[in-house]
């Protein structure tokens, strides 16, 4: 137990079993794990700060809330409701994930290399150690990841893991699309110079 808590990284068998337990536990207790929707919810909360009419109470909507934005208004205003009431399961779940990452990293007995905390070695070998370059590319990566995930209706957690766990066709399609592009991109982008 002590070894599990303080290890920097688990071996693949422990890793796989713990991932499997996480996904089953969530669906047995409440519902399958999903993350990317919460980026929309946080956007909505920020939008609502600047434009108060982003989500409004609406007795006619299935959720009791509606929005002038077509995306936030879809499925009976489900997203609009979660923006109006952020103390809901999925949003708290994602905040708790951040806390879990914090504690797991703090408990690790080996402290990470400072340079590695900004850019992985594979990046520095190819693109150097400029923080601006790394952060700009990570920003663009984040943009693509969340735009793509929202277009797909889910991400690695919701589609690939939770989806394939339930044998969803959409999970298999998402995984195929993701790996078909990610593998050649990573190979080309990070290939060794001759």
């Amino acid at each position: 137990m002590k070894k599990l808590l303080f290890a920097k990284q688990w071996n693949w068998k422990v890793s796989g079993i713990m991932l499997g337990i996480s996904f089953v536990l969530a669906v047995v207790a409440v519902k399958p794990i999903g993350v990317s929707t919460q980026f929309v919810i946080l956007d909505g909360i920020i939008m609502d700060l600047f434009a108060g009419d982003t989500v409004v109470e609406d007795a006619e909507a299935a959720s009791g809330y509606s929005s002038p934005n077509a995306y936030l208004n879809k499925s009976g205003g489900k997203y609009a409701k979660n923006i109006a009431k952020p103390m809901n399961y999925s949003f708290i779940f994602v905040l708790a994930m951040v806390a879990g990452g914090f504690v797991a990293a703090r408990l690790s007995t080996s402290k990470p290399d400072t340079a590695d905390q900004l850019s992985p070695p594979v990046w520095r070998k190819k693109f150097g150690s400029s923080p601006v370059k790394r952060c700009a590319v990570v920003f663009i990566g984040g943009f693509l990841v969340l735009f793509g995930s929202r277009l797909a209706g889910g991400c690695t957690s919701g589609h690939m893991m939770s989806g394939m766990m339930q044998t969803s066709l959409s999970g298999y399609l998402f995984a195929a699309g993701a790996f078909a592009v990610a593998v050649p991109t990573a190979m080309l982008m990070y290939r060794k110079e001759k």
């Binding site: 890793s15 708290i92 991400c155 066709l169």
Partner: protein
Amino acid sequence: MELIFAILIGFFFGFVLQKVGAANPQKIIDMLRLKDFHLMKAIFTGIGLSSLLLFTFLALGWADVGHLSVKSAYVGVIIGGALMGLGWAISGFCPGTGLVAAGALRKDAPFFILGGLLGAFIFTLLYGALKATALFTTLGGKVTLAETGSEKYSALLPTFPALALAGALGILFMAIAWFLPNEPVHSARSLDDTIVSSGQ
């Protein structure tokens, strides 16, 4: 009660993602370059085990079929998956692992989250214009391979016993995890060694 589950299971999942190495972009990029199969073995094991357990629990009546949530299959799932794959490869993060990495105080992770918030925002604005396009043409809708027992979702292979089918897929995934190379692939020599030793 739900919120207590959210805190406990969310915390556990974030903890696991960090310890698995999934919030470390080096591990993600090396998996995608097919150099280090640690994460791929963990992911295949995770999917396989969770699928086997879930369908066992459904068959025994220990899991509420109403808790399932099957997402729709449409053209945008593949295109969106491809875009996410592009961003995943260049940054080394996906939505969940980017958040966990920020929790672990990685210095690049907040930029991933900011980019992600902008990407999700632009999609939110564009959805109204995109929803009538071919991107949302259905590819079967909310369907699964194995029969879940839920009236909301239809099965593509309803004649097979659900547990046998999902269980077989689960075991197949775990077998793939088992047979993927263990050590990081550094050189052609290690590949040769594998071929020689498996040939004996």
